[in-house]
Symmetry: C2
DNA sequence: TATTGTTATACTCTATAACTATA
DNA sequence: TATAGTTATAGAGTATAACAATA
């Protein structure tokens, strides 16, 4: 890319991200997230799923019967966005909504058998994506990153 | 929120993010990025700017006269997305496009005087946002996070 | 009155494809 | 032929406001 500029003395200096920006944590965080998103997409191209869909399935796996408002809290999303998200998974037959007998305003969301099957088939691809994202870090560094991000989030 | 559930024995267990997810790096990265985005928005509400706009202005500050294709490379974006991004900043009068005399296919993007003024007025709010995001970490931890994310990105 | 969820709607961001102008 | 940029267009994701059902 930009061969002409590189070959031309006046333009021989390739534009670079200045150190002030390369050391800027918001920039690093945004680029890391961007890379993670793209690698997840690349690895799960054969499955009709996004990273967030996958995250919600994991959430439901360990926490069956969540209310949509609870999903909104747990994922930091608006109620209407959760409606949209659950709609999509329900159309694929991966989750079901049932009214909560204890509070009929609320709908309880659970994974279906098809959802569990889909989750199992996607899991290896998701794991491969994570492996590629984290490839530059050894186990100790991954633990450090986990600890730092956990502190950052106040968890 | 969910007062009824909390007050009811059957529902006394508040739904929690399971440890398996709380320790999941993709989840932590996504939440950290989400938090950063929202705090930037909250702090810069008085200015008509997004985090990415701000990042591009910083990029142009230290690298005046970038081609749009170079911006695309540096920010990991598609050419058409850069057109859209530069359009927005140009409408606000913060950047200007000029054809590069050395290669008239390309447009050179520079900050205007108004752009520099805007950047200076926004900088304190952006800094406050970053301070709030990073508040849980001391200087040593910030350096560690910088180093780990830099390695993650292969920079 | 407050809360859960839905719907209608609109806006932002992103990318693909087809184009133009230059190289 | 290949590259830089634009335009038209479409799709994802997000949110606000108004609403219905229930508490």
């Amino acid at each position: 890319m930009h061969y002409y500029r590189l070959a031309t003395p006046e333009h021989a200096v390739q534009p670079r991200i200045p150190t002030s920006i390369r050391r800027h944590l918001p920039y690093l965080l945004a680029r890391a997230y961007q890379r993670q998103q793209r690698l997840f997409e690349a690895h799960t191209r054969d499955f009709d799923i996004t990273g967030r869909d996958y995250g919600l399935l994991l959430m439901l796996e360990s926490n069956p019967g969540l209310w949509q408002s609870e999903i909104a809290d747990l994922m930091g999303l608006d109620r209407t966005t959760v409606t949209y998200l659950v709609d999509g998974l329900q159309k694929r037959g991966w989750v079901a909504r049932e009214p909560d007998p204890a509070d009929r305003r609320a709908h309880v969301v659970t994974m279906t058998a098809d959802g569990r099957t889909a989750l199992e088939s996607i899991r290896p691809a998701a794991a491969a994506a994570i492996d590629e994202v984290l490839a530059p870090l050894d186990e100790t560094e991954r633990d450090q990153l986990r600890a730092l991000l956990t502190r950052l989030l106040g968890h």
